[in-house]
Symmetry: C2
Subunit: 229 residues, 2 copies
DNA sequence: GAGGATCAAACTGTCGACAGTTGCGCAGGC
DNA sequence: GCCTGCGCAACTGTCGACAGTTTGATCCTC
């Protein structure tokens, strides 16, 4: 549980809005802390504390927390206090089922408009994954692979919805990882094979087959241990 | 296009946090204006203007706009300017497909835990709809019926996701309504029949049948004119 | 020693202000 | 008349402050 030092900016204040708002920076930092488990599920989050840690006012912190609420990583109680979300087994199951719907729908669209650039992206992701040595790295690349398929669909709304649940997937994957640390060669090999097959199905242009393939892939890979959270 | 006067509170300021935050009030007001078309798709939204109209500072307005962004009714450009969303045909199609997934999944859960109280809620909704005389009223009750099924699933995450797209559905339904004003008796009758059948399927406890029935219902009813937006 | 009242610290919601940026209109040049 | 550049107005991001509320802890009473 290495503490993540907040990106300090005590000097060089007033470096306003270089296209990166403070709220964005804080959001990324908090998200990282949550999905890596530095902030444990259920722990309280205090606006003044975070503001002080980042040497900013509460305004951008508030905005960050609302953003993280949208991402499902933070929950607010009736009186406005915020905590890190505690995912239940039901939550995880729901998230996975939503994810499966979104990705399979997107895969259908992606198959219809598949082209070389997309294939290139996906294949280079596989190449990277072949070199990966840690479970963390594999998880990151796995999500990136699926994100690429979402992007390839070109469907704005599907992508938005997917992005809204992706952080929760990362949180859950992180939780799992902290239980079983090791990177199993079997799992890696299975993932690579499955991803290669997905590319082939997408390249075939068969939307129905693509939908089905993604649905099966997600059901088998990410969500088989849905009750573990 | 009747203008909706903002809930004034010039006097009796400092009536802080009676469980209803200003942000909440403003959010509801803006949402109403957007889904009813008072604010037309693509029109700019200025924080100071809205703040002045409600006689509040920009802080709660900012929070409202972020909330509406989450609901998909407001979009922000790269420099932070906000506008009312302009739904494309693709957007509507995506929203409908997401909705269908969410509701059919929820219906499966709802069928497994169906009980008298839920049936009561659904049947009284139908009773209300039988009395309805305007298209607006029917739409509202229709959404309420589906919301009740979502609630009946008891799945926190599914409900959250559904709530996140529901306002967009209302926006789109509102847009459609403003095109064809009249309430068709045929449509009303069809809806009532379909809803009664849904209750029966749910009451049977057959999760698979419930999922299927909801999927078919949504595909046929709300989204058949998906390209109309 | 247990229970309840009291008080202080901490926190949230909201406000008004300021600085930097963006966009638009107007004036001037071709 | 059309295009270009400048200046002003409006807007966003962020700040520090204040008021009311909630929480925890302390202290007093029984």
């Amino acid at each position: 549980m290495t503490a993540i030092p907040p990106p300090q900016r005590s000097s060089s204040r007033r470096a306003v809005s270089r296209r990166k708002t403070l709220a964005l920076v804080i959001t990324e930092h908090l998200r990282q802390e949550i999905v890596t488990g530095v902030r444990s599920p259920g722990s309280k989050i205090s606006e003044p504390t975070i503001a002080a840690a980042h040497d900013v006012s509460r305004a951008p912190v508030r905005e960050s927390l609302r953003q993280l609420e949208r991402e499902g990583l933070v929950v607010f109680d009736a009186v406005g206090r915020s905590r890190v979300v505690q995912l239940t087994a039901d939550d995880v199951e729901d998230i996975c089922s939503i994810r499966a719907s979104l990705e399979s729908t997107a895969a259908g669209h992606a198959a219809r408009r598949f082209h070389a650039a997309i294939e290139q992206t996906l294949r280079s992701n596989i190449a990277e994954m072949e070199e990966a040595t840690t479970l963390d790295e594999v998880s990151r690349l796995d999500l990136a692979f699926h994100a690429a398929i979402m992007e390839a669909s070109g469907r704005r709304r599907l992508i938005t919805a997917w992005r809204a649940i992706e952080p929760q997937l990362r949180l859950w994957l992180g939780t799992l990882q902290r239980l079983r640390e090791a990177l199993s060669a079997d799992v890696l090999a299975a993932t690579l094979t499955a991803h290669r097959q997905l590319i082939d199905v997408l390249a075939s242009g068969d939307a129905n087959a693509a939908r089905k393939a993604v649905e099966v892939h997600i059901a088998s890979w990410v969500c088989e241990s849905g009750g573990a959270a």
